[in-house]
Subunit: 328 residues, 2 copies
């Protein structure tokens, strides 16, 4: 993960751009790992950094901190954040954490960040990052379909079908190329880290009507996330795992459909997406994609799909808007 | 592995180029997997193919074979090759197998191919591939050294040192770029599949004196292999996992040194390489690299290194050769 350049750069820039925020402050790094974020904070002028790491990696953090001469500023605490007591029950000015899992929530540590916020952050304290968004969009998944039609002259469609059955148990973490995306992405979930609760994250359910922006093969749903950092002055730094952006170790997540469908430009694709926290493992989520009949779900007011109803509504709305402009 | 284009293409070409060899013959595919090699053989005109696969993947092989309309030619046998009896104790004309593991031997199935050869192959039968070679060469491993000197402004040399300690327990399977190679590769082992025995593979030990062909950082030993296929007429097909060749799923194998050394062009690098079959798991090997003092080992007669002794010997040999030419 340390080799994830986009990730490191986003955190570094978010912290470096805001030295005025970090200068002289007390910082808590939740899940500090090798201590890289703690060192960024110390470099930015933090007075004190508590680097909390539950795993044995804390030993590496200690060495990295020493190697960079911040052993007086950064204190490594080898424990779960839930067991930590800070010296003198001090509250911190800023929580930094790289807690994001695959499609944000899977194998992530957001619960620990929420705990840290509720127990250690000053009421006017900041979180780096402070917001996160999950997106979804219909896509092609050629690696589960047509790439098996002809493998060196051999038809392996039956194998591809088996792969899809397997993949239905476990979404695929893989790079999706921008040209595989079939519509405008839509928001599955927006999280304000200052306010989100653990309960908010138990089950996320959305219904989307995507409108194909080109002809293509609808073979799955692609999911990714972005995170936004606070900023005192400059444009806020956004760490994005969008297929259009630089590759990260999070890649994208793909839920492949058992059967593909041809879609035409402007065709509506209706689906329901349900993310449910696993009962056996708090840090795991199950994703369910349910295909819906576009005829049977309500389309948004400004739907750009090719269904007669939407074309009529659009024409009517445009007419009203034009009238408004003419009357203005 | 099916996505390994270089691998598939090599097998396909080796079989397709030799249709005259396969035409009307009986073939045994050892470790058939999804059945792709069996289908190549059937496409090349084989009369009968026995596709032996011990794992549950045999079900996929059956479907792939059916999908390609070879269910009359190819018979899938779901068993370990060691338990197989062929109908009427028939002997086969050709054994095909993709048995190669990392650096050829690790997690490979050569023992099964040897068993198949000794029990099922006609005395004049062929093996695809029929020979294999392991190579080694000193190399740079920047991912274990200088890439950690400055990670977004943070020195992580202590972490790199930890990584190297870990890597010493388990050689790294990773792509090595051609510019990381510091000398001419040398042969660790050449295997003639028609003759090799299981005992030959228990322990392989070689001593090499590589001569640096450029200035660089000597940080590890890079190991890879090639396989050669029989050919009746055309140039034999070679499947190569050389860093200079197209990437394969075998990548290369790197044994990283705990400490690096600067080397100059023409400097000799002496090392011993020992591959030992693991006592706990027949399919696993341990690799040991022992650094030797170039002053204390015998150099080859035509050594091109910069040591005085070798320069003198070389000059003398050249003089003799010139005399021979002049006297001729």
């Amino acid at each position: 993960m340390l080799k994830d350049k986009a990730r490191n750069r986003a955190y570094k820039q978010a912290i470096e751009d805001n030295k005025d925020i970090f200068e002289g402050k007390v910082i808590l790094d939740v899940g500090a790992g090798t201590g890289i974020l703690s060192v960024f904070a110390a470099q930015a002028g933090a007075r004190k950094v508590f680097a909390v790491e539950a795993s044995d990696i804390y030993k590496i953090a200690e060495e990295v901190i020493k190697e960079n001469n911040f052993e007086d500023t950064i204190q490594v605490i080898h424990d779960r954040i839930e067991n930590v007591t800070l010296p003198g029950n001090i509250k911190v000015d800023i929580i930094i954490s790289e807690w994001m899992g695959f499609y944000l929530l899977h194998e992530g540590m957001l619960d620990s960040v929420i705990w840290a916020r509720d127990h250690f952050l000053k009421s006017d304290g900041l979180l780096f990052p402070e917001a996160a968004t999950i997106y979804s969009v219909p896509c092609s998944v050629p690696t589960m379909y047509e790439e098996w039609d002809n493998v060196n002259g051999i038809s392996m469609k039956s194998f591809a079908s088996k792969l899809r059955t397997q993949a239905s148990q476990k979404p695929d973490t893989t790079f999706v190329k921008p040209d595989q995306i079939l519509a405008e992405p839509e928001v599955v979930l927006w999280i304000d880290l200052r306010e989100v609760t653990v309960e908010d994250l138990h089950r996320i359910k959305v219904q989307h009507i995507a409108v194909a922006n080109k002809q293509g093969k609808y073979q799955g749903i692609c999911i990714w996330f972005t995170c936004t950092f606070p900023s005192s002055s400059t444009e806020p730094v956004i760490l994005s795992t969008d297929p259009d952006e630089e590759e990260t170790h999070w890649k994208q997540t793909t839920v492949v459909l058992p059967n593909e469908a041809d879609v035409q430009e402007s065709e509506p694709i209706a689906y329901e997406l349900v993310l449910t926290r696993s009962e056996n493992n708090d840090r795991h989520y199950n994703i369910e994609v349910i295909m819906l009949d576009p005829e049977e779900v309500e389309h948004p007011e400004y739907c750009s799909c090719h269904m007669t109803k939407c074309i009529l509504v659009r024409a009517m709305l445009e007419k009203y808007e034009n009238n408004d402009v003419e009357n203005a």
